[in-house]
Symmetry: C2
Subunit: 335 residues, 2 copies
């Protein structure tokens, strides 16, 4: 940190499948890990305090009571507009007013995106926001955007995603000259539809971008790109498909091992390796997706987040605020 | 088989990464497995005969010499139009003329789709074709279409895919009342873009379809649907992402086990279970994708197909011809 001022992060305590318990636990753990942060938990004060009393009190945490909750099946923009006293909207208002610098929620993706645009505010020069996430890959980490903010994109949207991903990779992830690739249905130049072909031409022309062409689904896992640009529909499907296959293999392995004594013994001997494998490919570890293109650090945690994923999301928010990610993107776009 | 007439399948011996060696090997093995088929191998006769001489001659195989090959990076429609003596086009002409009933190639997906439409011919009533493939999943098999024939779709295209998938699942895969789902970026009804939302409305209204709403990426692996409908862009990405993650985990496991004696011993004890795991999730086993919506059995094998995947693709072609899949789809669409 450049100065001694603490970073304040507003955390929506009521969002996600494991709220408020795991959210509160994650907030407590994040405060232990980072002494330079303060957390404001928004939500039902009674419920939050019941959760918090299981832990040592932290002077880094305070609670702001709210009365409404945005549900996953509500229309995102309507919910954000109408539920003015929801845990999510109140936390976002804090970012807009400057009371907090960062925001974290495991609630509805749609509502976070809508709130990012309507409450926190879009960066001038950015037409549509993008959710960016670190993917678990074999070699080097890959940052993929968009994974669900903007379901269908124009070539210009995808160009802006490439510019934002480039800045995020360089400044926040400290990658020197990030290789950027565009997600497509094949690696050959003739692949892609009009949108993807159009985006390819636009991105290719930007001399400040180290653009390396298309990437296809089966190459993502090898970490062949620092930044993967995609529309939010396909990016979301790729992310969740990867997550599902890992969970499926894990569950199948557990079931099969249960049936055989030899396999049980084998798994015991291999436990270190297997644990390493699942940790490496734990999609929940990469818990924080940054909503890029809005005027602040808006971080979405996985809906099924438990405490460690919340810590990870808070950590992403902290880094983003620390590097002033929104300002960096604004400068880049204005150039 | 209803009668004693043999099923003739034209196999493009020059398409794919392992052509013509593995294609020829696969053809030989398929003939051993199915006494009711005849195979015509199209391609460079000298090369094909050199491959075939490694095996016992089969009266079920004959070779038709061609002089051209369609490369993966060629423009699909142009290549099909210009290379009249290519192994792929000549094999497809045989389906059109009735000399063969089925076609198999591990060559360029784009060219197979273009040839399916331009040479074999589109079924009347179908606007765009779809490539359908069996996915490796935990519970029951899922048939996903499209995985790469039509990169962007209209709601009407997706409805037609649902109708074709339904027939394929019922008649070829023998599923009694197939559950159909639409691939989207979330399971809630508010998800999806205009195209997917539009398709949802169209499919929902069809009383003969057992439509069950959206499926998201992480649910695919659990086999929660008999038929998964998608545009070719996202479907291709989902398919390849799954394939990539399995390969990645496999490679990581192998590397890690190599480093530890204990883990090596463990793997030995677990070898049965691990083998079962990879076999279950072997995307190459599901080697044949059917191009639905064209006037014949046009089957695409994976570009990296080895002999077993070619056998699998030939088997898909055989089933499709045996059940007269094209005719079934034609009848369904005309209703």
């Amino acid at each position: 940190m450049a100065n001694n001022k603490k970073i304040t992060i507003a955390v929506d305590a009521m969002g996600g499948d494991n709220a408020p318990g795991e959210i509160c636990k994650g907030a407590i753990e994040a405060c232990k890990k980072f002494s330079d942060i303060e957390i404001i938990l928004t939500g039902d004060e009674f419920k939050i305090q019941s959760c918090l009393k299981n832990f040592k009190t932290s002077s880094q945490i305070r609670v702001v009571h709210t009365t409404e909750i945005i549900q996953p099946d509500e229309h995102p923009a309507l919910a954000i507009r109408k539920k003015k006293n929801s845990s999510m909207r109140v936390a976002m208002e804090m970012v807009r007013s400057g009371e907090a610098q960062g925001f974290v929620s495991a609630g509805s993706t749609g509502a976070i995106v809508a709130g990012g645009v309507l409450v926190v505010g879009r960066l001038s020069g950015i037409d549509r926001p993008a959710l960016g996430v670190m993917l678990p890959v074999i070699d080097r980490p890959s940052f993929m955007l968009d994974v669900g903010a903007t379901v269908r994109c124009s070539p210009e949207n995808l160009l802006q995603f490439a510019l934002m991903g480039n800045i995020y990779s360089r400044k926040i992830l400290k990658v020197a000259n990030p290789e950027i690739k565009l997600l497509s249905n094949g690696s050959e130049n003739i692949k892609g539809d009009e949108t993807v072909l159009g985006a390819r031409e636009l991105i290719r022309k930007r001399e400040n971008l180290n653009f390396q062409g298309y990437i296809e689904g089966n190459d993502i896992v090898w970490g062949n790109a620092d930044v993967i640009v995609s529309d939010g529909f396909s990016g979301n499907i790729a992310l969740k498909m990867g997550e599902g296959v890992v969970q499926g293999l894990k569950s199948l392995l557990t079931d099969e091992v249960r049936k055989s004594f030899m396999a049980k013994a084998g798994l015991l001997l291999m436990s270190g390796v297997v644990k390493k494998l699942w940790t490496r490919f734990n999609y929940e570890k990469y818990g924080g997706s940054a909503l890029l293109g809005v005027n602040g650090a808006v971080i979405k945690a996985h809906g099924r987040s438990k405490a460690p994923a919340i810590v990870s999301a808070i950590s992403v928010a902290r880094d983003f605020v620390d590097e002033d990610g929104a300002q960096l993107i604004r400068n880049e776009i204005q150039e």
